[in-house]
């Protein structure tokens, strides 16, 4: 078949019947534009949510255990959780479950007064084990993190977040300074790298980390945990590991079958999947509406192409009489439909891109450059042209050339 020449003939036809071409393009543009806007907003929102989860958790290969049977709301702190999750529980999880690589212990307190000279702040103070950095994939920007020995020795050392540094040490190097947490002096030994915003949009940098043993004995005088974080060896097996952790803790807490857990286990990977799923339900409905618009666009292409075929009987007859095969007639009309749909697709994607820019600005979503919906839109429009062009093209090729010429 004479491919390139037929493409050029098809292109000329789209120009020759410019009004019809324009109407078909319009039909496709509306569907593609709304589809790209909606799906790229959906994609951008999903990525944003995932990024915030990642900011908060650092890694997705951890299981979080909090005391209390799921009744407590909000972030667990020392004042609102039952004292059921113990240091010994954390030791047992680390020791007895081969699926678990490491366990971090946490004691969290919000709104603790922290002072240095005449500067004051109320960050989250978290007592953590020295393996925190690995479990959360946090990084120390300046100085060092505390060691295992410092934890055992109940050393009064602190690693601060960038927000705390900004509040307490606006003009000074925080390292080796001694700040007071609820009146107790701690030496600043490190500065954490900034993590950005969490899922709720709040800062994740307004915190001070201290050794968990120091926190338990010297600051809070509590011997229970607000959270333990277990890192699994194989992230693929995190559901199985979660089941084992639950079984072990129930056994240690002497909970029999009908009774509910006195702790809550969260598998972040699963939670995040749920959140992104829920977030995309609305997007899915809207995408469905846009897909309907696109379908109608396809039907517009089909009907206008069909009308075109009936109006162009003579042209078909002429082309057949000078040597066009049925296949070449099919190819020409299919190509016309595909080219028109592609033009509509590209125009729709461009309009969609503009709409997307507008929405991200209005919604204050970060400008995420998502190219997949645009590539998909262009591919989809070509497919629409192909699918809805088949029938008119087939009709054109079935025409008896003698009759077509007589018309």
């Amino acid at each position: 078949m004479n491919g390139a020449k037929i493409v050029s003939q098809a292109l000329r036809s789209t120009r020759r019947y410019a009004l019809r071409t324009l109407l078909m393009i319009l039909g496709i543009v509306i569907g593609i534009a709304s589809l790209t806007v909606l799906s790229s907003i959906g994609e951008a929102t999903k990525r944003e949510t995932m990024q915030r989860f990642k900011n908060m958790l650092g890694t997705f290969d951890t299981i979080m255990v909090r005391p209390g049977g799921g009744r407590s709301r909000g972030m667990p702190t020392l004042v609102n959780v039952p004292p059921t999750l113990r240091f010994e529980d954390a030791d047992a999880v680390a020791r007895e479950l081969p699926e678990i690589k490491a366990v971090a212990e946490m004691q969290t307190a919000f709104d603790t007064d922290v002072k240095w000279r005449d500067h004051a702040a109320s960050p989250v103070v978290i007592g953590v084990t020295p393996n925190w950095l690995q479990l959360r994939s946090d990084e120390v920007q300046d100085g060092a993190f505390f060691s295992r020995d410092q934890n055992i020795a109940l050393a009064r050392v602190a690693v601060i977040g960038t927000d705390v540094r900004a509040a307490l040490f606006p003009d000074d190097d925080p390292l080796d300074k001694t700040l007071r947490i609820a009146g107790v002096p701690f030496q600043v030994i490190g500065l954490l790298k900034s993590r950005g915003a969490g899922p709720g949009g709040g800062s994740l940098d307004n915190l001070i980390l201290i050794p968990v043993n120091t926190a338990a004995r010297r600051l809070f005088n509590r011997d229970y945990l607000t959270m333990l974080i277990a890192q699994v060896k194989d992230p693929e097996q995190s559901n199985e590991a979660t089941t084992k952790v639950v079984a072990l803790l129930r056994e240690r807490h002497h909970i029999r079958t009908p009774a509910l857990d006195d702790f809550t286990v969260t598998n972040p990977a699963a939670t995040m999947a749920q959140v992104t799923r829920a977030g995309s339900t609305l997007t899915k409905i809207l995408t469905g509406v846009a897909a309907m618009a696109l379908l109608i666009g396809g039907i517009v292409v089909m009907s206008l192409m069909s009308i075109g075929v009936s109006e162009r009987w003579k042209e078909i007859g002429v082309r057949r009489s000078v040597g066009a095969t049925r296949g070449e007639i099919v190819a020409q009309f299919m190509l016309e439909a595909v080219l028109v749909a592609l033009m509509g697709g590209i125009a729709g994607a461009l309009i969609g891109w503009g709409g997307m820019q507008l929405v991200t600005r209005l919604q204050k979503l970060p400008p995420v450059l998502v190219w997949q919906p645009f590539a998909a839109a262009i591919l989809l429009s070509a497919t629409i042209g192909l699918v809805f062009g088949i029938y008119p093209a087939w009709k054109a090729s079935k025409l008896d050339p003698v009759q077509a010429l007589r018309s």
């Binding site: 004479n2 042209e315 002429v318 009489s321 040597g323 066009a324 296949g327 003698v402």
Partner: protein, 240 residues
């Protein structure tokens, strides 16, 4: 004459219209045409002239009989082979010109080149237009041309792939006398180049351009005879 360009044997064509109505457009027509002949096909309307021309031009297939074109048995050819023959060997000229609307003269002449190997040769299309005296109007849309000019564009289109056979179906039927004479002069020129010409016409004057005349009546061939010289034809044409 030993060589044969066209050989028809017992060609019949039956159209079915509905269940019982069968129209026999052609009944067992047989003849041979040698390369370079100029044949007029005559007959009243409905006598099967156009059906015959369509079969000769491979636009239509006979219901029965055999058709050899330049030695090829085309009666059983499929769409691809027939299309190739139409493209390479046959030039059509129609009563109603059959040019594409909203298209320039040049683009119309180029169309047959779309469906053969090789690229569309614009220079060649311009040459063809020059030959029919329309080089100056190459970029005009066909609707801007007179009937005679349109038919000349159609002749340029029929020539572009250098066909051995030119089939003209009442080419002057929609033209005034002057324009009709131009068209006939072009056809005679094509004949002089050695092409085989088949011309369907009602018109005695036009038919007289031919060297041979085949008459059809009700789908049957009723006569096949040689006719007079061309000079006589032109005189007759002029006298009308």
């Amino acid at each position: 004459m030993t060589e044969t360009m066209i050989e028809l044997e017992n060609i019949s064509k039956t159209y079915c219209r509905g269940e019982s109505a069968r129209v026999e457009a052609l009944k067992a027509v047989s003849f041979r045409i040698a390369p370079g002949e100029f044949v007029a096909v005559r007959g009243a309307s409905g006598s099967g002239k156009s059906t015959l021309l369509n079969i000769l031009g491979c636009l239509d297939q006979p219901t029965s009989g055999s058709y050899h074109l330049g030695g090829e048995d085309v009666a059983n050819y499929g769409d691809k082979e027939l299309s190739r023959i139409r493209n390479a060997k046959i030039g059509f000229i129609f009563q109603s010109f059959n040019l594409l609307p909203r298209t320039t003269a040049l683009e119309n002449v180029e169309i047959p080149m779309v469906y053969r190997d090789g690229k569309v040769d614009r220079g060649k299309a311009l040459c063809a237009l020059e030959r029919v005296g329309l080089a100056a109007r190459a970029h005009h849309f066909v609707t801007e041309l007179s009937g005679g000019e349109q038919q000349r564009v159609a002749i340029a289109r029929s020539l572009i792939n250098n066909p051995a056979i030119v089939l003209a179906d009442e080419p002057t039927g929609n033209l005034d006398l002057e324009a009709g004479r131009d068209v006939m002069r072009l056809l005679e020129g094509l004949h002089e180049e050695g092409r085989t010409i088949l011309l369907v016409t009602h018109d005695d004057a036009i038919a007289a351009s031919a060297c041979r005349e085949i008459c059809l009546r009700d789908g049957e061939m009723v006569s096949d005879r040689s006719v007079g010289s061309r000079s006589l034809t032109l005189l007759k044409g002029d006298a009308m």
